[in-house]
Each structure stands twice: as C-alpha cells, then as structure tokens.
C-alpha cells in the first residue's frame, strides 16, 4: 500500500470529528444566508457525502472550506436569487410578566418589519450579521467560518445594522 501524501479524511473517526466540529456551523451559515427554503439540513448532508466521496483528495485542513464551498454552491444553484425569508418563532422566549395585547400586537408588527428588512440585506451581510447577533459569534470566529478578514466582517455587520434600522423606521 502506498502511503497518501497527506492525511486525508477517509478515516471514520476523522470524518466524525469534522462532522462534530462543522455540521452545526455549516447549517447555521446556510440558514442565515439562504433561509429555510434551501433545506439547510439536506445541504449539510449532501456536502458531507460529497466530502466522503472525495475524502482521498481532501486533506484535513481543507475539509472545512470544501464543505462550505460545496454547500454554498448547492444552495446557490437552488435559490437563484429568490427572496430569503427567515421564519421567526411565534412563541416568546420565557417572559416573567404577562404582556398587554397592545404590546403583543406592536411586537408582532415589529417582527414582521424586521423579517422584511432582513430579506433586503445582501447574503454576505445577513450571514455575518446573524451569526454575530443570534449565534453570538465573535467577529474573529465569523471571519474564520466565512474565510474573510475580520475587518470585512466588521464592515458587513455594521452596514447590516445600519440598514436594518433605517429600513425598519421607514416601513
């Protein structure tokens, strides 16, 4: 047997490690970027199966970019610039005091505005912004996930925030 030039991801335990480390990130990345209609769960599975098929040519340190690129391309093929709609959860995070009907209505309206405004953001802005705001990722982490510079992440998130605020006030 000839020894591979680099350690590839064909070993089950290495593959499993990569899955543990990146599957959730990949899923959230797809969700925030493309929304629900691309079936992020399916895309994650497809990307990992593709990784398994190409495990011999893929060194471990390239596995992550492989996964994100594949999943991204798969999703891009599917959405073809449809409007991205993110679902918001109806049930409120546990609140201590009962709310007035008026407050609830206002909140409902606000969420709808926010939903529309999020759809207006570019894919790049939305993915970075939501990973930061919702998943609580540091700018540095997002930069690593998306494979862009930290400065670019800051820029995207800031522009996204400004844009959202303006859009919501306008709507």
């Amino acid at each position: 047997m000839s020894k591979p030039l680099f350690e590839n991801v064909c070993k089950e335990e290495i593959f499993a490690q990569i899955y543990q480390k990146w599957a959730t990130h990949l899923h959230n990345f797809l969700y925030y970027k493309f929304g629900e209609q691309v079936n992020p769960e399916d895309k994650v599975q497809e990307a990992f199966i593709k990784l398994w098929k190409h495990c011999k040519e893929t060194p471990i340190d390239k596995a992550k970019s492989f996964l994100f690129t594949v999943a991204n391309n798969l999703s891009l093929n599917e959405v073809k610039h449809q409007k991205v709609v993110l679902k918001y959860q109806q049930e409120r995070p546990q609140s201590s005091s009962p709310e007035t009907p008026q407050f609830l209505l206002e909140e409902q309206e606000y969420l709808q505005k926010l939903q529309q405004a999020l759809a207006q953001l570019s894919d790049g802005q939305r993915e970075a912004f939501l990973l930061n705001r919702i998943e609580g990722k540091k700018h540095k982490e997002i930069a690593a996930i998306l494979g862009i510079s930290r400065k670019a992440v800051e820029k995207r998130i800031y522009t996204a925030l400004e844009k959202l605020r303006k859009d919501i006030d306008k709507i």
Binding site: Y19, N28, R133, I157, L161, R165
Partner: protein, 298 residues
C-alpha cells in the same frame, strides 16, 4: 471615540465600562437593543448533530454500496457486448458444418451450386459468409466434389490441400491415408509441401510414407455406386472403410495391418463384404452384433 467604532465594539461584545456608558448615550442605542432582542426570534432551527450524523452514516453506506453495484452492472454489460461481438465475429459469419454418419452418405450443394457428396463417417465445414471471396472447405474423411467453374476452389484437409478451378474429383483424407482422384479438369494437390498436378483420370495416394500416382478409367468414385473398390491399398484402410460403411467394429491381427490388397466390397451386404476382404487373405469371420472378429483359417 467615533460612533461607528463604538457600535462595532458593541457588536463584538467588547465594550469596556466607559465605552458601554458612551454607547448608552447614543440616541440609536435603544433601537439597536430593541432590534437585537427581536433578532433572537429569528434563530436558526436547532440542528440535531447526533441524529443527522446517523442519517449521514446511512447515506454514506448506501453510497458505498451503490458504487460496486454500478461497476458490477457495467462489467456484466461489457461482458455481454463482448460476447455478442464474438458471436457475430465467429459463429454468425461462420461455419456451416455437414456430417455423414457411419453407414450413410450426405449430399449437399455449396452456395455456388457446387455439388458435394460425403462418404460415410465424414465431416465438411465451410465459411458461408465469406464464400464469394474464398471458395474454401475443410474436410475430414472422404468426399466427391463436382465444382462449378469460377474462382479457385480449395479443399483443406489435415494431410494436404487440393485446389481446382472447376472440375470433378474425390478427396479421401483418413487417418494415415490420403487419396485424391480427378475425374474431370485439373486439380492441384499440395501434400507435404510438394505440388502435384492431376489431370482427369489420374489419382494420387499417400500412405505409409509412400506416395503413388495412379490412373483410373472411371468417371465417378466407386462408393457413389454402393460399393468401395481398392487397388493396392493397405488392409487397415480397407478395414476402416468397412467399419464406416456398416458401422461395425472389426477386430483383427495387427500383422495384417499394412498388407496391400486389391478388392472391392458392396455397401448393402455385410456377408459379401466380409467375404471380399477375408477370402483373399485366407481369414474367417465371426459376427456378434456390431462386433466382427477376423481370424486366420486353420
């Protein structure tokens, strides 16, 4: 600190106390906070890593399996294609075989209407599809040919090759015995790399490392008229011919094998035939079913 930097720092959750206060002073800070709180409603649905990984393992296994099956199907298809190709290359193109069993004669016409009569216990084989380019037959045993005029006609046998243009001739290619008689036209016999031309009425015999040229007055081989005639032919060949004509087995003393004998026997009367070969050699015979034993008379 600039407003933008402040907001960016807030976004990265890295404001210190003083900066935090400055941020609170911004007129936009409350709307930012409201926005931030609302955003939590948009959280991605939970991704069940364990469960999804199980599903992935199943999909992987299916994928691994699918590949060899596809390959197997591919190989089977390839084998079929090759087999069909070979079938067309060899069998379909190929050889028509004609047989004359012991004690029967078979008459057949080749594609150019040339006549072939196979004597008992003989086999003829020719390539139907290439007949027009190559009039060639392979013969094991004895056959009479009446060849229509045309391109060269070749009879290949284990012992030698007989070529003609258009004529009537008889070829006998038996174990240790080779004989060609020409009845009309001219035939060319290639035997042990020597070429012999036989005009009509001439014959060629080869047995026991000898070759003999003869003449005949007949216009057809004798065996077409229900008897076999021999002129100075070794006894084993006469005995073999008798076995073929009557589909019997002869047992005789090996010393008789190479004795040259001139005789003839009929095809439809076993007693007469046996007398024809036993009387000249002073032998007696005994018939047991299809076994015949020849013994010297005392």
């Amino acid at each position: 600190m600039k407003k933008e930097d402040l907001i960016i720092k807030w976004l990265d959750n890295s404001l210190d106390e003083k900066e935090q206060k400055a941020f609170e002073q911004l007129d936009a800070s409350s709307s930012f906070k409201k926005l931030d709180a609302a955003l939590q409603h948009f959280k991605a649905p939970a991704f069940d890593v364990e469960n999804q990984f199980q599903k992935l393992q199943a999909a992987k296994a299916a994928n691994n399996q699918a590949f060899p099956i596809r390959r197997l199907v591919g190989s089977i298809a390839a084998i079929f294609i090759v087999a069909i190709g070979l079938y067309f290359a060899y069998f379909n193109n190929s050889n028509d075989t004609f047989l004359a069993q012991n004690s029967e004669q078979t008459t057949l016409y080749l594609p150019d209407n040339s006549l072939v009569i196979l004597n008992a216990g003989s086999k003829l084989l020719y390539d139907k599809s290439h007949w027009d380019e190559n009039r060639s037959v392979a013969l094991e045993g004895e056959a009479f040919f009446k060849v229509n005029k045309g391109s060269a006609f070749t009879v290949k046998t284990a012992q030698g090759k007989v070529s003609v243009l258009g004529t009537e001739f008889d070829v006998k290619a038996r174990q240790d015995y080779f004989e060609v008689f020409c009845f009309e036209g001219l035939v060319s016999v290639e035997y042990q790399s020597t070429n012999t031309k036989l005009p009509a009425g001439h014959g060629f015999k080869a047995f026991l490392d000898k070759t003999i040229e003869e003449t005949t007055l007949r216009s057809k081989p004798d065996w077409l008229e229900q008897h076999s005639a021999f002129k100075s032919v070794p006894f084993f060949e006469i005995a073999n011919e008798l076995e073929r004509q009557y589909d019997i087995e002869l047992t005789y003393d090996a010393a008789l094998k190479n004795i040259l004998l001139t005789t003839s026997f009929p095809h439809k009367n076993l007693d007469a035939a046996l007398q024809a070969i036993t009387i000249p050699l002073k032998l007696s015979y005994q018939i047991n079913g299809n076994q015949v034993v020849l013994k010297s008379q005392k």
